[in-house]
Amino acid sequence: MSAPTDPSSTPPDEAAPDPGPPAGVSRRALFGGVAAAAVAGTAVGLGAGYGIGRATAPTTSSAAGTFAFTGAHQAGIVTPAQDRLYLAAFDVTAKDRDDLVALLQRWTTVAARLTQGLSAGPYGPASGPYDAPPDDTGEAADLPPAGLTITFGFGRTLFRTAAGVDRFGLADRLPAGLIELPHFPADNLDPARSDGDLVVQACADDPQVAVHAIRNLSRTAFGAATIRWTQLGFGRTSSTSTAQRTPRNLFGFKDGTANIKAEDATAVDEHVWVPASAAVDDPASAWLVGGSYLVARRIRMRIETWDRTSLREQENLVGRTKAEGAPLSGGAEFTEPDFDVAGRGGAPLIPLDSHVRLAHPDQNAGVQMLRRGYNFTDGNDALGRLDAGLFFLAFVQDPRTHYVPMQNTLSRDDGLMEYLEHTGSGLFAVPPGIPDGSLVVGRDGTPITTDASPFVGQKLFTA
């Protein structure tokens, strides 16, 4: 049953004896906090608000380990970076706009459910008609919600295919920022690991919860979209909150020390969210205001040759100490690097080709990114080397100003590039969130899909 660890709990099918309407509350609703939310939804009734609204600043996990799904912005951006990632890019196979919208409605509902610790469908993994497959795949049945967030984005090809076809009547709403990324020096991109019409980022503190989310969303998409590529990330490499410790990447260095933190509302507004002013210059992007752009780069690290590199060279390439992550100019981890401090022979302590210098906002017209990358390893290559590295994810206000110039500089000049190879790439427009209280809920108070259900990216298709 849904809660085998607690046989005394009331089974969902007893709670709803009538087989007509969807009954099962949820496997995970029985764990606590979320159940209360579900009950509250029931009390208010159909069409009422569901869940707790999310402010611009990230709300912390509730006792049950959930983040609100609705709000001005999608969750999974300024949310404190969870430990695990499963990200999937999809190719849309839906024939027309209505089918695409229907897919987005189903996805939105499933995502709203899963992120709140509910099962993918109303019955759950072990209930419902005995001769039908369960409406949830079940592998997360006994797990807590683990802070799951699900974030959706749209690729350029959704608006216009590479051949220039406008499949869904969206071409005139292609935001100017949703460019084809240029070839960066030393790029070695695998088309099978790049691009896509849609992207779904699932982050959670338990990898199985993240995989469960993608698996059920993929199942929900059959007939309308197929998976193009996926990426599993086993450890976060960025902190997006001052409350988090800076994690390390596979070079063994702290990564993301200077990242934008959610608590810095000014920086988030200035560098992450698409501002209303963007729609003035580019009316096609009006639907994206309050959203963001997601840059995804699969960066393989040549860790075997890196491991043969002296500590001196490692620190000089990064520009920080390996132990503390302090800039080589001195201080501690969060001390601002001083690029002018010189050492022996007048050479700067932070070398000219070091990563920290070249990536610093001072060298990049003041732009910043909200990075949310993950360490990955996908087995090994034919030469017996780990196919491992950093799956770089960054949310930016406009990739033309906040990503492309910096990546060109890094790919060309960064000493670290000798140990890096970009093998996959994607750029996606990430719509704003869906408003608090807009989800359509069923008789049990949990979200259901109807023709009237709201969906992520709705403004792209209306207004």
Binding site: Q82, D83, P182, H183, F184, P185, A186, D187, N188, D205, G235, Q244, R245, P247, R248, G252, R302, E304, T305, R308, T309, S310, L311, E313, T321, A323, E324, A326, P327, L328, S329, G330, G331, A332, T335, V341, A342, G343, R344, L349, A382, L383, G384, R385, N408, S411, R412, E418
Partner: protein
């Protein structure tokens, strides 16, 4: 979340400890004497004024506001036994030395000026054997001289070959140009770390197409390579390859010769030196080049002459090691034996596929298994080779 960060920290500690111990020459970490040093504007506080002979680690923390340096000086207060420089405020860096019994002086140099703040430091006899180091400086100087001579010899052959290659290409004699391509490049590949030390010369001469920024002009060997081994559209991003015009050919050939001449001039300049640590680092980098470019077939994607480059990189690394061999044999005989063995094994494996003079198997004719075997031999050599610099720079 806290559970996993704790785990991460534990894993890291477990990884770091044996590695750090491994860096301390061959002495076990238990034997290593760890001392702390605090350097401020007016003090250089060493946690002890004496230590037993053998491996001694000074963990130097800059507690001042200026960049500092720390030295271990001989009993004349002048001879530098070992040093660690460029320590920024707040930063800690280790100095690991092999010290024999005797009188020394420790010195911090805040602000990197003056004689520093000195104090006597005594190394007592622990009975542990510490290798002789007397004539190391002379050996290193001899190594540098030999290596510079080797470099000059290689660039001499390179410019002559490049001129011949360029002439054939300009004259439209593509067969001759193709024949000369790989054998001439071997002279370049043998000394590539030297070329890389001259900044832009390396990309101008040896950039692959994928290395370029969008719209950046391309020049050098691989630009011509593509024109000599013109790809089918399927191997050219789906686009028909457009051969270079006569004018473009002349330009490409002249540019290649001009850039190569620049390298020749740099190497033959009076002030050209290549220090011992650059030689040892260069040897390691040559093997890294093999590991990331040649053994993967990415260097010569049109001509598939990767094994020529492979052999030349190994040749260059071997020379780098050989000029330093006296020092290595003296300081770390085990490492020397290991390097001898692995160089021999790799050369023997390569010999199965040909030679630079007689020609090699083309990369695209190698089986996956053969490539993997080559890669494993490169890794087997690279690992001990990466220890070379620490041996050369150790006191």
């Amino acid at each position: 979340m806290s559970r996993s960060t704790t785990l991460g920290a534990l894993t890291l500690a477990a990884l770091v400890l044996p590695l750090a111990a491994g860096c301390v020459d061959n002495a076990s970490s238990d034997d290593a004497e760890a001392l702390t040093v605090s350097s401020t504007a007016d003090a250089c506080t060493v946690s002890a004024a004496t230590a037993p002979s053998g491996t001694i680690t000074f963990s130097v923390t800059n507690d001042g506001d200026d960049v500092t340096e720390f030295y271990l000086l001989g009993d004349d207060k002048l001879r530098v036994v070992s040093e660690v420089e460029n320590i920024g405020p707040g930063i800690t860096r280790d100095l690991v030395v092999q010290a024999r019994p005797g009188t020394y002086y420790t010195a911090c140099k805040p602000g990197m000026v003056g004689d520093g703040i000195q104090a006597q430091f005594t190394v007592t006899d622990s009975g542990e054997e510490v290798g002789p180091t007397g004539d190391k400086a002379e050996q290193l100087a001899a190594a540098e001289k030999q290596y510079v001579a080797y470099t000059k010899d290689q660039v001499g052959a390179l410019i002559a070959g490049t001129q011949e290659f360029a002439d054939a290409y300009k004259a439209g004699d593509d067969d001759t140009a193709r024949e000369l391509y790989a054998t001439t490049r071997a002279h370049w590949e043998r000394i590539e770390p030297v070329a890389e030390s001259f900044g832009d010369l390396d990309p101008l001469t040896d950039a692959r197409e994928a290395d370029l920024e969008d719209g950046e002009a391309w020049s050098g060997w691989h630009y011509i390579e593509k024109d000599l081994w013109q790809p089918a559209p399927a191997d050219n991003g789906g686009e028909e390859y457009v051969p270079l015009t006569d004018a473009e050919r002349q330009q490409a050939a002249d540019d290649l010769v001009a850039y190569t001449q620049q390298l020749v001039d740099e190497v033959n300049a009076d002030d050209f030196t290549f220090e011992a640590f650059q030689i040892s680092n260069g040897a390691k980098e040559l093997l890294d080049e093999v590991a990331t470019g040649k053994v993967t077939g990415e260097e010569e994607i049109w001509s598939h002459t990767d094994l020529w480059d492979f052999q030349a990189n190994v040749d260059g690394a071997r020379v780098g090691y050989e000029v330093l061999q006296d020092v290595v044999q003296q300081e770390d005989p085990d490492l020397s034996a290991q390097l001898d063995e692995q160089f021999t094994a790799l050369d023997a494996l390569l010999a199965q596929y040909g030679s630079i003079d007689e020609g090699f198997t083309y990369y695209d004719d190698l089986t996956d298994q053969q490539v993997k075997e080559l890669a494993a031999a490169v890794d087997a050599l690279s690992e001990p080779l990466s220890q070379l610099t620490a041996v050369v720079t150790a006191s």
